[in-house]
C-alpha cells in the first residue's frame, strides 16, 4: 500500500481549513499565512500527482479503494485520469492566488470583539471548498462524488452570503440583503439540481447494484449491464440536470450573475473558475461514461442549449452595467463553449473542452481578480463610475486588458487554443452550429472592449484620479497568471498530452470516432 497521495491532496486543505478556523481572533495575519502555506503545500502535492501521473499508463491511476458503506456497495474509491489531473492541478494552482487576492477582503470592519473571527472563517471556507472540489475530481465512486458535489454548497453559501465587497452603491444594508438573496439563490438552484441527481444516483444503484464508476462503465462497455433505453435516458437527465445547473447552462444560469456580483472577486473566481468546473468535468466523466447511448440521444438538444448559452451570455454581457455581472455573463458564454465541446463528440471538441476548463479558470481569474482590485480602489462595481484609469494606473489597466484579451480568446493566449479546438471539433460534425458559435468570438470582442473602453480609456474621472497602481501583492497574484496564459497559449502541448489519452478513452466509451476529412475519406 503506497502513500495515499490523492487522499492527502484533499485532506491537507481540509485539515488546513480546520486549523485556520481555530486560529484565535487576534491572530488574523497568522490565519492568512497559514491558509496560504496550506494552499501552497496542496499545490506541491498536486504537482506531485501531476508528475507521478503517466499519460500513457492505465486510465485511472494512483487509485485508492476502501470499503465504506458495505451494505450499499459504497466505496471510498479515488483515482485520476488525465482530465481529472489537469483540473486538479488547476484548482490547486488557483487557490493560492485566490487567497492572496482576498488577503484583506475579510478583515473585520471593527476590531473590538474577541469572538468575531471573519478572517479565519473566510480562509477556512476557501480551503474547505478546495478540499471538496479536489475530492470531487478524484472520486470514482458515484456516491462519494455526489456527497462532495453537494457538500460544496455549504461553504460556498457562507462565502457568498457572508463576505461581500466593502463598498456598495446602495449602502451596507442593501448589500447584505442582496448578498443573502444571491446566496440563497445559489443554494436553491444547486440544491434542486443536486436532489434530482440524488434520485438518479439511487436509480443507478437500483439498476447497476453498485456505485463504482469503473465497474459500471466497464459493464456498460462490455454489454453485461444492459439498461432499458427509457431508464438510461431518465438517469442521464437526472445527472445532466445537476451538472447543467452547476455549469451553468442556459436557461439554468441566472444564479451565477447574482452570486458573482455580490461576492468578493476572489470568491467569484472560486465560483466560476473552480466550483463550476466540477459540473462540466462531471458531464465528461459521469454522463458520457455511464450513459453513452443517452448522451448521444440528447446531444442535439444539449448542443442547441450550449449554443444559446454562448450567444445569449455574450449578448447579455454586452448589456450589463456592472463589471462583475459582465464577467459572469461572459463566463456563461464560455461554459456554453465547454459544454458544446464535450457533446460535439469529437476528440478535438473534448480535448478543447478540457483545455477550455483549465484556460477559462486562469483567464477568468486574471480578469476578475484585476477587476476586484479595481473595484476595491473605487468602491463601485458600476462601469459608468470609471473612466481614464489607464492614465492613472497603467499597470492595472494593462493587466486588465490582457485578462480581457484572454477572455476574447486572442490567439497567442491560452483560451484561443481551447476555443478554436472546441469550434473545430463542433464544426467537423455540426457545421451550422459551429458557424453560429463562431459569432460568439465577435460578441466576446464587443463586450470585452466595451468594458475596457468605458473603464480604462477616455478622460480621467475625478473619482479615479488618485487611484494607486497595482501593489506588489496584487502583482504577485496577476503576474504568474498572465505568464501562464501566455505559456499555455504558445505551448499547450504538456496539457494536451495529459488530456488526450483520457479523451480517447471517453470517445471509445461513447463508441464514436472522429469524422474523417473529406479528402482522406475519398482516398
Amino acid at each position: 500500500m503506497s502513500f495515499p497521495l490523492l487522499t492527502a491532496t484533499a485532506a491537507l486543505p481540509a485539515l488546513g481549513a480546520v486549523a485556520t478556523a481555530a486560529v484565535p481572533a487576534a491572530r488574523r495575519t497568522a490565519a492568512k499565512w497559514l491558509a496560504l502555506v496550506v494552499s501552497l503545500a496542496t499545490l506541491a502535492l498536486a504537482i506531485t500527482v501531476l508528475i507521478r501521473f503517466d499519460p500513457g499508463g492505465d486510465r485511472y491511476q494512483l487509485t485508492e479503494s476502501h470499503a465504506w458503506i458495505a451494505d450499499f456497495g459504497v466505496r471510498y474509491e479515488l483515482g485520476v485520469d488525465g482530465i481529472a489531473v489537469a483540473l486538479l492541478a488547476l484548482t490547486a494552482l488557483l487557490i493560492p492566488f485566490i487567497i492572496l487576492a482576498g488577503w484583506n477582503d475579510a478583515d473585520p470592519l471593527e476590531t473590538g470583539s474577541r469572538r468575531w473571527r471573519p478572517t479565519q472563517g473566510f480562509f477556512a471556507l476557501i480551503l474547505a471548498v478546495e478540499a471538496m472540489v479536489v475530492i470531487s475530481f478524484e472520486a470514482t465512486d458515484v456516491f462519494l462524488f455526489y456527497i462532495f458535489f453537494e457538500a460544496m454548497l455549504i461553504p460556498m453559501y457562507f462565502l457568498i452570503g457572508g463576505f461581500g465587497d466593502r463598498a456598495h452603491e446602495h449602502g451596507e444594508a442593501a448589500a447584505s440583503t442582496q448578498r443573502s438573496y444571491a446566496a440563497v439563490k445559489f443554494l436553491l438552484y444547486n440544491l434542486v439540481g443536486g436532489l434530482i441527481m440524488l434520485a438518479a444516483v439511487i436509480g443507478l444503484y437500483v439498476v447497476a447494484g453498485n456505485f463504482s464508476l469503473q465497474e459500471i462503465a466497464q459493464a456498460r462497455a462490455n454489454g453485461s449491464l444492459h439498461m432499458v433505453t427509457g431508464t438510461e435516458r431518465w438517469l442521464f437527465l437526472g445527472f445532466f440536470f445537476a451538472f447543467a445547473v452547476k455549469a451553468p447552462l442556459w436557461p439554468l444560469h441566472t444564479w451565477l450573475p447574482n452570486a458573482m456580483q455580490e461576492s468578493t472577486a476572489p470568491v467569484a473566481v472560486l465560483i466560476t473558475a473552480v466550483v463550476d468546473k466540477v459540473g462540466t468535468f462531471a458531464m465528461l466523466r459521469f454522463c458520457l461514461q455511464l450513459f453513452p447511448e443517452a448522451s448521444k440521444w440528447a446531444t442535439p438538444v444539449i448542443l442547441v442549449l450550449a449554443l444559446i448559452s454562448i450567444v445569449y451570455g455574450a449578448l447579455l454581457a454586452v448589456g450589463q452595467r456592472d463589471i462583475k455581472r459582465l464577467v459572469a455573463y461572459a463566463s456563461i458564454s464560455h461554459f456554453g463553449f465547454i459544454v458544446m465541446g464535450i457533446f460535439a463528440m469529437t476528440s478535438q471538441g473534448q480535448s478543447g473542452a478540457t483545455l477550455y476548463m483549465v484556460n477559462h479558470g486562469i483567464s477568468t481569474a486574471a480578469l476578475m481578480l484585476v477587476a476586484g482590485f479595481l473595484i476595491s480602489r473605487r468602491g463601485s462595481r458600476l462601469i459608468a463610475d470609471y473612466g481614464g484609469v489607464q492614465k492613472v494606473a497603467p499597470v492595472l489597466a494593462g493587466t486588465f486588458l490582457i485578462g480581457g484579451l484572454a477572455t476574447l480568446s486572442l490567439p497567442g493566449l491560452a483560451p484561443f487554443v481551447s476555443e478554436f479546438l472546441v469550434l473545430v471539433g463542433t464544426f467537423t460534425r455540426y457545421p451550422v452550429i459551429g458557424v453560429i458559435a463562431t459569432f460568439g468570438i465577435v460578441l466576446a470582442a464587443l463586450y470585452t472592449l466595451v468594458l475596457y473602453q468605458r473603464t480604462m480609456t477616455g478622460p480621467v474621472k475625478p473619482e479615479v484620479s488618485a487611484m494607486p497602481d497595482l501593489r506588489v501583492r496584487e502583482l504577485v497574484v496577476v503576474g504568474p497568471l498572465i505568464v501562464l496564459l501566455i505559456l499555455l497559449g504558445v505551448y499547450p502541448k504538456p496539457v494536451t498530452d495529459i488530456v488526450d489519452p483520457a479523451v480517447r478513452q471517453t470517445m471509445s466509451d461513447v463508441h464514436t470516432t472522429d469524422p474523417k476529412p473529406e479528402v482522406e475519406a475519398a482516398k
Binding site: W250, T346, G388, G412, T457, V490, K516
Partner: protein
C-alpha cells in the same frame, strides 16, 4: 540559414516584451531599442534575401519547424515558418518600411510621455505582421492575423484619453473580428475537407475536393480579407483608424497590415483558382471598393482621411488584381509593394505637415505650405506623382499592369473591370491632386487655434525627413526597378504562378487611356481647387459629396442597424433574462411562498386546532385502512 527565420520575428517580439514590461526605467532609451531591433530584423531579412537569391528559383522555399503547437487527435498545428519569395517580399517591405517609420516616430513622438510604450506596440506589430507572412499554416497565420489586429487596436487607441480614439480602436478591432470569423471558419472548413490547414497539404490537394467546398473556403477567406484590408462591406473602420498617431497610419493602415488581405488571397491562390465563383466575388469586392474608396477620398477635408480613402481604393486595385487569378497575382503584389512605398511616404508627409501645423488635420486650413516645408513638399509631391501613375514612376508600372490584367480577364467581365479600373485611375488623379493643391498650393489659410496659438509651419527634424526621403526615392524608382526585365514577375512566379491573359486591346492603348484618365482627373481638380481659392468652411456640396463625407452613409447604416439594433437587442435580452428566465424561477418561488403564506394561517397557535387536524388525520388513516381492506 533556415534558423534565422525565427529570429526575424524574435527580434521585434523581444523589443515589445522589453519595452512593455521594462517600465519607466527604459523611457530614455526605449525608442532607440525599438528602432534598433526593428532594423535588426530588416538586416536579417536582407541576409535571408541574399541567401534566397543565391539559390535556384525552384528551391527558394525555406522552412523552419520550431515546435508542435496543438497536437490533438487528427488536429495537428505546428509552429513552422515558411520563407519563400512571396513572404520574403513582405518581410522586406514590412521590416524596411517599419524601420523607417520607427526612425520617423523617434522625432514625431518626441513630446509624448508614453513614447516607450508606442515603440513597444510598434515592435509588437512588426512581430505579429512577420508571423502573419511567415506562417506555414493557416492557424499560425491566424495568430499573426489577430496579433496585428491587436497591435492596430493598441496603436489606434494610443491616445486613449481621447474618447474618439478609444472608440475608433474598438471599432477597428470589432470589424476585424467579423473578418477573423471568416478566417476561422475557413480554417475549420479546410480541416474538415483536407484534414489539415497547413499550406502544403491544403494548396496541393485542391483538385481532390468539390468546387462547392472550395468556393465556401474562398468566400470565407474573402470575408477575412475584407475585414483586414478594409474592403466593402467591412471598410468602415479604416477612416476612423486615422485617430491613431500618423506613423501608425503610415505603417499599419497604409503600407503593411491592410494589405494582409491581399497576401491571404494571393497565398491561397490555388483555392481561388479552383473556385471561379469565389474569384468573381473577389474581383467584385475589389472593384466596388476601388470606386467606393476613391469617392470617399474625394470628399474628405481631413488630410489623413482623404489618404485613408485612397488606401482603401488602392487596396481595391490589389484585391481586384488578386481576384483575376494567375494573370493578376504578381501585379497585385507589385502594386502592394509600390503602394507601400508611396502611401507610407504620403502619410509621413501628412504627419510632417500636421507636426508643423499644431496637429491640424483640416486641409482647408492649410495652403501654400510648399515654401514652409520644402522637403515635405518634394517628398509628398513625388509620392503624389507615383500614386496617380505619372509615367515612369512606380505607380505607373504597377497600376497599369493591373488595368491591363483586368481587361485581360476577357469577356464582359473584362470590359467592366477594366473600365472600373480606368475610372478609378481618373478619380485617383482627381482626389490626390485635390489634396496636393489644398495643402501645398494656393494662399495660406491657417488661423489661430482656440488658445490663440498661431501655427508656425516649419520643416520637421532629420529623423522625420530622412525616412520620407528614402520612401520618396522608393516611390520613384521601385516600379521601374521591378519592371525592368520583368524582375518582379520572375521572382514571384514560382510561388504564385503566372499566366498572360489575352487582352482585347493592346497594352499601348491601355497605357494611353490611363494617361488620358490621369490628365482628365488632374485637370478637373485643377479647375476646381487650383484656379479658385479654396473656401475655409466647406461648402454644402452635392448630395454625393455629402454622402461621401459621411463615408457614403455606411457608418449611418451600421449605426442604425447594428449599433442601435444591437443595443435594443441586448437591452431587451437583459429584460428577458430578468423577467422571463429569472422570472419563471422567481415566480415559482413566489408561488410556493404565497402558498405557504396561506398554509401558515392554519398554524394559528391554538393547540386545539392542531388537535383537530390530527384527529382528522387519524380519521383519514382509518378510512384509508378500511379502503385498503375493501379493495
Amino acid at each position: 540559414m533556415d534558423n534565422l527565420i525565427a529570429l526575424l520575428i524574435a527580434a521585434p517580439l523581444l523589443g515589445a516584451a522589453v519595452l512593455l514590461v521594462g517600465g519607466r526605467r527604459l523611457d530614455a532609451v526605449g525608442h532607440w531599442i525599438g528602432t534598433l531591433l526593428s532594423t535588426t530584423s530588416f538586416v536579417l531579412g536582407l541576409v535571408l534575401f541574399a541567401g534566397l537569391l543565391g539559390k535556384d528559383a525552384e528551391n527558394r522555399t525555406l522552412t523552419q519547424h520550431l515546435w508542435t503547437w496543438i497536437p490533438v487527435g487528427g488536429f495537428q498545428a505546428d509552429v513552422t515558418f515558411r520563407l519563400d519569395q512571396l513572404s520574403m517580399t513582405f518581410v522586406l517591405l514590412i521590416t524596411g518600411v517599419g524601420s523607417l517609420i520607427h526612425l520617423y516616430s523617434v522625432g514625431y513622438m518626441e513630446h509624448d510621455e508614453r513614447r516607450r510604450r508606442f515603440f513597444g506596440y510598434l515592435n509588437l506589430f512588426l512581430a505579429a505582421m512577420l508571423l502573419l507572412v511567415l506562417a506555414d499554416n493557416y492557424l499560425l497565420l491566424y495568430v499573426g492575423w489577430e496579433g496585428v489586429g491587436l497591435a492596430s487596436y493598441l496603436l489606434i487607441g494610443f491616445w486613449q484619453h481621447k474618447p474618439s480614439a478609444a472608440t475608433a480602436a474598438k471599432k477597428a478591432f470589432l470589424v476585424n473580428r467579423v473578418g477573423d470569423m471568416g478566417l476561422s471558419i475557413a480554417i475549420m472548413l479546410m480541416f474538415t475537407t483536407f484534414g489539415s490547414f497547413a499550406f502544403g497539404p491544403v494548396l496541393s490537394h485542391t483538385g481532390d475536393t468539390s468546387e462547392g467546398r472550395l468556393t465556401a473556403i474562398g468566400l470565407m477567406l474573402l470575408l477575412a480579407a475584407c475585414g483586414k484590408s478594409a474592403q466593402v462591406p467591412l471598410q468602415s473602420w479604416l477612416g476612423d483608424a486615422m485617430e491613431g498617431p500618423t506613423p501608425v497610419s503610415a505603417l499599419i493602415h497604409a503600407a503593411t497590415m491592410v494589405t494582409a488581405g491581399v497576401y491571404l488571397i494571393v497565398r491561397s491562390g490555388a483555392i481561388f483558382n479552383a473556385a471561379p465563383d469565389a474569384q468573381l466575388a473577389v474581383t467584385v469586392v475589389g472593384a466596388v471598393t476601388l470606386i467606393f474608396g476613391a469617392i470617399v477620398g474625394c470628399a474628405k477635408d481631413d488630410i489623413k482621411k482623404a489618404l485613408a480613402g485612397s488606401t482603401m481604393s488602392q487596396i481595391g486595385y490589389m484585391v481586384l488584381a488578386a481576384g483575376l487569378g494567375p494573370i493578376g497575382y504578381v501585379f497585385a503584389i507589385m502594386h502592394l509593394v509600390t503602394h507601400g512605398f508611396f502611401k507610407a511616404g504620403l502619410f509621413l508627409g501628412a504627419g510632417s505637415v500636421m507636426h508643423g501645423m499644431n496637429d491640424e488635420v483640416d486641409m482647408r486650413k492649410y495652403g501654400a505650405l510648399r515654401t514652409y516645408m520644402p522637403i515635405t513638399f518634394v517628398t509628398f509631391g513625388l509620392g503624389y506623382l507615383a500614386i496617380i501613375g505619372f509615367p515612369f514612376l512606380s505607380g505607373f508600372y504597377s497600376k497599369d499592369a493591373i488595368i491591363e490584367a483586368a481587361f485581360a480577364k476577357g469577356g464582359t467581365q473584362g470590359w467592366i473591370l477594366g473600365g472600373v479600373a480606368l475610372l478609378g485611375a481618373a478619380i485617383t488623379a482627381f482626389y490626390m491632386t485635390r489634396v496636393m493643391l489644398m495643402t501645398f498650393f494656393g494662399e495660406k489659410r491657417w488661423q489661430p487655434d482656440a488658445q490663440g496659438h498661431e501655427p508656425h509651419p516649419h520643416e520637421s527634424p532629420k529623423t522625420m525627413t530622412i525616412p520620407m526621403i528614402v520612401l520618396a526615392v522608393g516611390s520613384v524608382f521601385a516600379g521601374f526597378f521591378f519592371h525592368l526585365g520583368d524582375r518582379f514577375l520572375h521572382w514571384l512566379e514560382p510561388v504564385t504562378g503566372h499566366s498572360e491573359g489575352d487582352s482585347p486591346i493592346g497594352a499601348t492603348t491601355i497605357t494611353g487611356a490611363t494617361l488620358v484618365c490621369l490628365v482628365v482627373g488632374v485637370g478637373i481638380a485643377w479647375a476646381r481647387y487650383g484656379r479658385k481659392p479654396v473656401p475655409v468652411v466647406a461648402p454644402r456640396g452635392s448630395l454625393l459629396t455629402r454622402a461621401a463625407r459621411r463615408d457614403l452613409l455606411q457608418d449611418d447604416f451600421n449605426h442604425v442597424v447594428l449599433v442601435r439594433g444591437g443595443e435594443h437587442l441586448t437591452r431587451s435580452l437583459v429584460y428577458v433574462d430578468h423577467t422571463l428566465v429569472d422570472g419563471v424561477v422567481n415566480g415559482t418561488a413566489a408561488g410556493v411562498g404565497g402558498l405557504s403564506g396561506r398554509l401558515r394561517r392554519v398554524q394559528n397557535g391554538f393547540a386545539r386546532s392542531y388537535a383537530v387536524s390530527m384527529f382528522g388525520g387519524a380519521a383519514l388513516l382509518v378510512a384509508a385502512t378500511l379502503l385498503m381492506r375493501a379493495v
